[in-house]
């Protein structure tokens, strides 16, 4: 029924935003299966709570983070499995012309601590303001801003070692 009709607002919204939601879910779970499950659970939760046809993006990022934390608590033995599969996940589209640059940048993002990485991802690829990041991560806006700056500093250090900058 929906295949022949115009895409709904929800479908258009998902087409536009699902990749960045999945990127954040991947960065939070380090396991592709968990990332997809967490994203589904988070979106379902936000859909049910939203009064508008689509929820605000920072709600979804916040829900992804909470679901990922819940899942990590549920499964203590997941660590070994995560470590085996973490390197298999590509967070970003392979760029043919800048494949090496992209690989180095992705590696530098992955090397960040989780608290810095999540702010960087929400800012650069999530497109959130510091206030929205603060709301999604339940931290003060100033902390979000300072973590973003620290993340960039760490990235620069890491990239200088690789002579990219």
């Amino acid at each position: 029924m929906t295949t022949t009709s115009e895409p709904t607002e929800w479908e258009k919204w998902l087409d536009a935003h699902a990749p960045r939601f999945l990127l954040f879910a991947r960065s939070q779970t380090r396991n592709e299966m968990d990332a997809q499950d967490v994203l589904q659970e988070a979106l379902l939760s936000c859909w049910r709570q939203a009064e508008e046809s689509v929820p605000p993006a920072h709600w979804v990022f916040g829900a992804i983070r909470r679901k990922a934390i819940d899942r990590a608590r549920e499964m203590d033995r997941r660590r070994q499995r995560e470590e085996q599969t973490a390197s298999d996940m590509d967070w970003f589209e392979p760029d043919i012309q800048e494949r090496e640059t992209g690989r180095i940048l992705q590696s530098a993002v992955r090397e960040l601590t989780e608290t810095l990485r999540e702010v960087l991802i929400l800012k650069i690829w999530g497109g959130l303001t510091f206030r929205e990041i603060a709301e999604a991560l339940n931290i003060p806006p100033n902390t979000a801003a300072s973590r973003y700056r620290y993340a960039l500093e760490e990235m620069k250090k890491s990239l200088k070692k690789g002579a990219l900058l």
């Binding site: 699902a18 990749p19 049910r48 939203a50 967070w91 970003f92 990239l159």
Partner: protein, 169 residues
């Protein structure tokens, strides 16, 4: 100068990072996510019934508090004044803490002195000021004048449970 240089460097780095595009969502996953739209959202009437449940909770709490007060009131009568002090007690209001001292008469002076005050609890009314219940134990002194001078007679201690409306929280 250094911060300006850092700002420029950060802009360059941000630009480099922005060029990376998040990987596309797998087709199976995106279809599954789109089907979420067909999930039923909780109706607003459900939220209303949730508020109703909250009101039932409030009502049950208030009923329990009132029951407790009734039990306390039965166990500790509001007035336990000895008959000798009947006239004085009739002039007092149980709800008025300021009318404890009685007017002296020509032949008899009486005075009530609180010796112990115990806070029993606060009934926090949803609409209106809270009411605090206190148990006050008092001694009544009677002073009689006779030809050989004044005689002071002390009554047995007696207690009252007084409701006091609180004007502040």
């Amino acid at each position: 100068m250094k911060s300006e240089q850092e700002h420029v460097d950060f802009k360059e780095l941000e630009s480099e990072l922005s060029r990376l595009k998040p990987n596309q969502t797998p087709p199976g996953l995106i279809q599954s996510l789109k089907s979420i739209e067909h999930q039923r959202r909780p109706q607003k009437s459900t939220a209303t019934s949730g508020r109703d449940i909250a009101w039932i909770g409030w009502g049950a709490g208030i009923a329990a508090a009132l029951t407790l007060l009734l039990i306390v009131a039965q166990k500790f009568p509001l007035q336990n004044i000895d008959p000798d002090n009947q006239a004085n007690s009739e002039s007092q209001s149980n709800t008025d803490m300021q009318s404890i001292a009685s007017e002296p008469s020509e032949s008899l002076k009486t005075q009530s002195i609180p010796v112990a005050i115990e806070e029993l609890g606060v009934l926090d009314l949803r609409d209106g000021a809270p009411i605090q219940f206190i148990r006050m134990r008092t001694l009544d002194f009677s002073i009689t004048e006779a030809s050989d001078g004044e005689h002071i007679v002390r009554t047995q201690p007696h207690e009252q449970i007084l409701p006091v409306r609180m004007n502040y929280y």
